[in-house]
């Protein structure tokens, strides 16, 4: 494979070195771009009125389906709303859904997994069987059932999306806790006579968080995707200011005649998920004990 290049090893290595130098800057460029995207979208979520040129609620029947242009940067939708403003305002609910369902689902799953892993024994056996059972039920179906049952509202969507991710978080957290709880420093703390609760809270939990955090970062993106799936299946929230997933799923019928309506919210989702993933990867790298100082 590398026959030819290896002929002059020294020079080849130099070339490699310079490439990797270039790579470092390329990957940081990536990371910075990702951070910028996330920051910008968070800004949109917090203060859309400072960023969006129009109100997302204004429906102008004279400006239907306008392609992107000077007046409407990203065009207008079938109500005559400004797509750019929609995307900007949509950030709030989208991010809310993402973050909240990670908080709820991840929090719950994390706690269950951590406790089950730490306590072990029968508790663990039972919890793990339950989690396996939950895992065997496709997540979106759980979400679907809940969304169908409690009706569409932002809160319920969050609930529905969270329910599906609980077992994943529980699994990840549990396996990490299992590793950490056998670390010598945990034994050390126990040999000192620390209570199990304080060992759990002070040693095990903090040292088990990193894969969980990585998963959570990435999970924000996947939750947004799941909620857009619900929207697609007709269980989304219809609000005056729709989230990206809703715009995307409602605008998809216009793809051939007005591609911009759902392309931009779609791009917003993809960009956000992508950025969050890039950041998540980096978080993983920094939290990886093999790569950090200890």
């Amino acid at each position: 494979m590398k026959e030819a290049t290896a002929l002059k090893p020294i020079r080849k290595i130099t070339w490699k070195a310079s490439v990797s130098l270039r790579r470092i800057s390329a990957s940081s460029v990536f990371l910075y771009a990702a951070c910028l995207v996330v920051i910008f979208m968070t800004a949109c979520a917090i203060a859309p009125q400072w960023i969006a040129p129009y109100s997302p609620e204004v429906m102008d029947p004279n400006q239907l389906l306008q392609p992107p242009g000077a007046v409407h940067l990203l065009g207008t939708d079938y109500f005559g709303r400004d797509v750019f403003s929609l995307v900007v305002y949509g950030a709030r609910d989208s991010l809310l859904i993402g973050v909240a369902s990670v908080l709820v689902g991840g929090g719950l799953g994390g706690v269950i997994g951590a406790l089950s892993g730490y306590i072990g024994g029968w508790v663990d056996v039972i919890v793990m069987r339950l989690i396996e059972i939950l895992m065997s039920i496709p997540g979106i179906l759980l979400a679907l059932a809940i969304a169908a049952a409690v009706g569409p509202s932002l809160f319920n969507i969050v609930l529905a999306v969270s329910a599906g991710v609980i077992p994943n978080y529980a699994r990840v957290m549990r396996s990490q806790v299992l590793t950490v709880k056998n670390k010598p420093y945990v034994l050390a703390s126990r040999s000192i006579g620390s209570s199990e609760l304080s060992i759990f809270l002070k040693h095990v939990l903090p040292n088990s968080l990193s894969p969980f955090l990585v998963m959570a970062t990435v999970g924000i993106g996947s939750s947004i995707l799941t909620s857009s799936g619900l929207s697609f299946l007709g269980l989304g929230v219809i609000k005056e200011i729709p989230d990206w997933g809703t715009v995307l799923s409602q605008g998809r019928g216009y793809l051939t005649v007005a591609w911009w309506i759902c392309t931009f919210p779609g791009a917003a989702i993809a960009l956000f998920v992508l950025s969050v993933n890039v950041i998540g990867d980096r978080v993983r790298d920094t939290l990886d004990p093999r790569k950090s100082g200890d």
């Binding site: 090893p9 010598p184 034994l187 703390s189 040999s191 000192i192 209570s195 040292n207």
Partner: protein, 684 residues
């Protein structure tokens, strides 16, 4: 002088790590003659492995490169050889074996497949021929039932067997040079002796050259023709083995030799130590890299790196070789005084050594622990929670520990030493038997009382890196027991922590630092500080020095002994380095497969072992003196599985003196001297 098989000249290796360039190996020149065994010794991080990888250009795959210098194999330059030619040379003319045999095999292929792959890579053979050859090789390295082993996976063999298989693989194409990188470090002494024997045999039989990398001077003394000592990426001394041991010309080599604990060391004197710890590759000192730790260092040493000079094959890189020789030639029984303080920070412990002696408790014979018929079994469960098998980790162990003594525990891996220790200090509950602590039975005790007593028992761990929480400052780590058991104000706690840091020889100002800023030895001191924070009466030291560099081991052992005398501590000291155990222990217990087979005072045990297993263990220890080179009388075979221990005397499967009686009936531990008891039907 004929052309050497391998010659390196001015070899320097460079790595790129997050944008910075490191040079872990600089200007290394040495040669290996045909049929010669050369030992490369040095502590962790001194660049031994990298040197060997550089020879085979394996560093190319690790983002490393040869910065300058040459490596010649039989006159052929390797540094500029194209990759394809290099590959046909690797495994054929130079082959390698590694430290961790379990990790060195691809876990998903059979031993046979991996051997055959190597053979067919270099020699044109049919599959059948290659297999036949592989079986032959396995047989040659002494693997029992070689045909069967061919179709086994690495995880199905023990470490010792794997190392034999690894050697077979290295020999597959009849190499001229065998590089063995710490081939026995991961193995038990008994197995180590077997492997070293094998290497010796093979060398004479095949006439190949061996480059053996080790940090154990004992091993080097056993088999080396010539030795190369590396320190911080440079060769500091090289010489024929006997001459180096007889008269080292570099203060580092001299220090290393002196800090080894031998089997006839003076147990009353503290161990000799080299101050400080080996430097990290990112912060190699200027000039002579040893100068910060060198008692002879001068301004010149700090500024200028000494060249490797010498005559008649004995070379050293030191500006002060002459002074050293002078000092060494003085008959000085007090030479330990060269550096009596083990502390690197220079902080004085509150008590001097003399005072410490006086503080030893009068009631030497007071019992601290009395253990009767202690048993610990671990059930192995299947998916449904049903017990599949029982591991007999500790079986019916009876012994006692006196207050103020150090009780050593030795035995091969898996013999149950750690388990016994953990049960002793109540980290786990025994399956059977009784433990009396200061006359009270622990098992029947009220939880509150047990918690009280738990303060009396602390532990020092093997892994200095894993035993402190990486997210806590070392101050918090040391303060943890105080937090749990004593309600102290923040200021009180702070002063306690500073006091403790001082006791273990660390700078009290470092309390707010994080573990990753410390070296292994320093972390072990942190662990010790934590263990003594509550003034316990008992400390379990499970392999507390095993993971440390030779020069640092001595420092920790000295510190522990000093603390023992000052605080009246009782230790159970578990280690696989028998010499160290002998040095620190007053009495030693020998464990085999969950049983305690012999207990005796340290000197007595080593001078007059009564159990065949003890004798075998002792004879397996490499002797760091080339002039006393001996044939290892290693025991055969390996320790059986604790899930299914042999009937009768558990050692009978490996015992040279075993009879039908041994196979039938387990011997009881019985007294054969005033303080010497043994469990053997036919004691020595």
């Amino acid at each position: 002088m004929t052309e050497p098989l391998l010659a390196t000249q001015g070899l320097s290796v460079e790595f790129e790590k997050s944008g910075k360039f490191l040079e872990p190996v600089s200007d290394v020149s040495f040669h290996i003659g045909r049929g010669e065994t050369v030992c490369l010794v040095g502590e962790s991080g001194s660049g031994k492995t990298i040197t060997s990888k550089a020879i085979m250009r394996l560093i190319d795959f690790e983002r490393g490169r040869i910065k300058s210098g040459s490596v010649k194999l039989d006159g052929e330059e390797l540094t500029t050889l194209p990759a394809s030619l290099l590959r046909s040379l690797r495994g054929k003319r130079i082959s390698m074996i590694f430290q961790e045999p379990m990790a060195a095999f691809d876990p998903v292929f059979t031993i046979g497949a991996q051997l055959v792959e190597t053979i067919r890579r270099h020699d044109r053979r049919t599959l059948r021929e290659a297999r036949a050859h592989a079986v032959h090789l396995l047989q040659r390295v002494g693997l029992p039932e070689p045909k069967l082993r061919m179709d086994q996976y690495p995880n199905e063999l023990s470490g010792g067997m794997l190392q034999r298989a690894m050697i077979a693989m290295a020999l597959a194409c009849g190499p001229e040079l065998l590089i063995a990188d710490e081939p026995t470090t991961a193995l038990d002494v008994t197995i180590q002796a077997q492997i070293l024997n094998l290497l010796g045999e093979l060398k004479t039989e095949l006439g190949m050259s061996i480059l053996l990398i080790t940090h154990d001077l004992g091993i080097a003394a056993e088999i080396a023709d010539r030795m190369i000592v590396m320190y911080a990426g440079r060769i500091v001394e090289q010489a024929p083995a006997d001459r180096l041991f007889a008269q080292p010309r570099h203060p580092y080599s001299a220090g290393l030799l002196r800090s080894i604990t031998t089997m006839d060391s003076d147990r009353s004197a503290p161990l000799y130590t080299i101050e400080g710890a080996p430097p990290n590759v990112t912060e190699f000192p200027s000039g002579c890299r040893f100068h910060p730790r060198c008692p002879l260092a001068t301004a010149k040493c700090r500024e200028e790196a000494p060249p490797l000079l010498g005559s008649d094959g004995h070379e050293a890189a030191c500006w002060h070789t002459d002074e050293l020789l002078e000092e060494l030639s003085l008959p000085s029984p007090q030479s330990e005084k060269l550096s009596p303080e083990p502390q690197s920070s220079g902080i004085q412990p509150p008590l001097s050594a003399g005072e410490a002696k006086a503080a030893l408790p009068e009631t030497e014979q007071e019992l601290l622990f009395d253990v009767v018929g202690l048993t610990k079994h671990y059930p192995v469960k299947n998916a449904l929670g049903l017990t599949k098998a029982v591991i007999h980790a500790v079986d019916d162990v009876t012994f006692s520990i006196h207050r103020g003594e150090t009780f050593g525990l030795v035995g091969e891996s898996g013999s149950g030493k750690s388990t016994l220790g953990r049960v002793l200090i109540q980290l786990e509950q025994a399956t059977g038997g009784q433990i009396f602590f200061q006359g009270e039975e622990l098992a029947g005790m009220k939880p509150a009382r047990r918690k009280m007593l738990r303060r009396e028992m602390q532990m020092i761990f093997q892994d200095p890196y894993g035993s402190v929480n990486p997210r806590w400052t070392i101050g918090d780590t040391i303060a943890e027991p105080l937090e749990v058991h004593q309600k102290l104000s923040a200021a009180e706690r702070k002063s306690r922590v500073e006091e403790l840091l001082g006791w273990v020889g660390l700078n009290p100002a470092w309390a707010s630092r994080y573990p990753h800023e410390f070296s292994g030895g320093q972390r072990q001191r942190i662990g010790i500080a934590r263990a003594i924070a509550l003034h316990p009466s008992f400390i379990l030291a499970d392999e507390a020095v095993s993971a440390l560099d030779v020069s640092v081991q001595a420092q920790i052992v000295n510190l522990m002994q000093e603390l023992q005398s000052r605080l009246g501590l009782t230790y159970v000291f578990i280690a696989h380095g028998l010499n160290i155990v002998r040095h620190v222990s007053s009495r030693i217990g020998v464990m085999y497969l969950g049983n305690l087979v012999e207990v005796a005072p340290a000197e007595e045990l080593f001078l007059h072992p009564a159990h065949h297993y003890t004798a075998a263990l002792i004879s397996s220890i490499p002797w760091p003196d080339p002039s006393r080179k001996k044939e290892f009388s290693a025991i055969q075979g390996e320790i059986p599985s604790p899930a299914n221990p042999p009937k009768g005397c558990r050692f009978h499967t490996r015992c040279p003196a075993a009879t039908a009686l041994c196979r039938e009936q387990a011997p009881k531990l019985s007294m054969i001297g005033s303080e010497h008891s043994v469990a053997c039907h036919y004691p020595l």
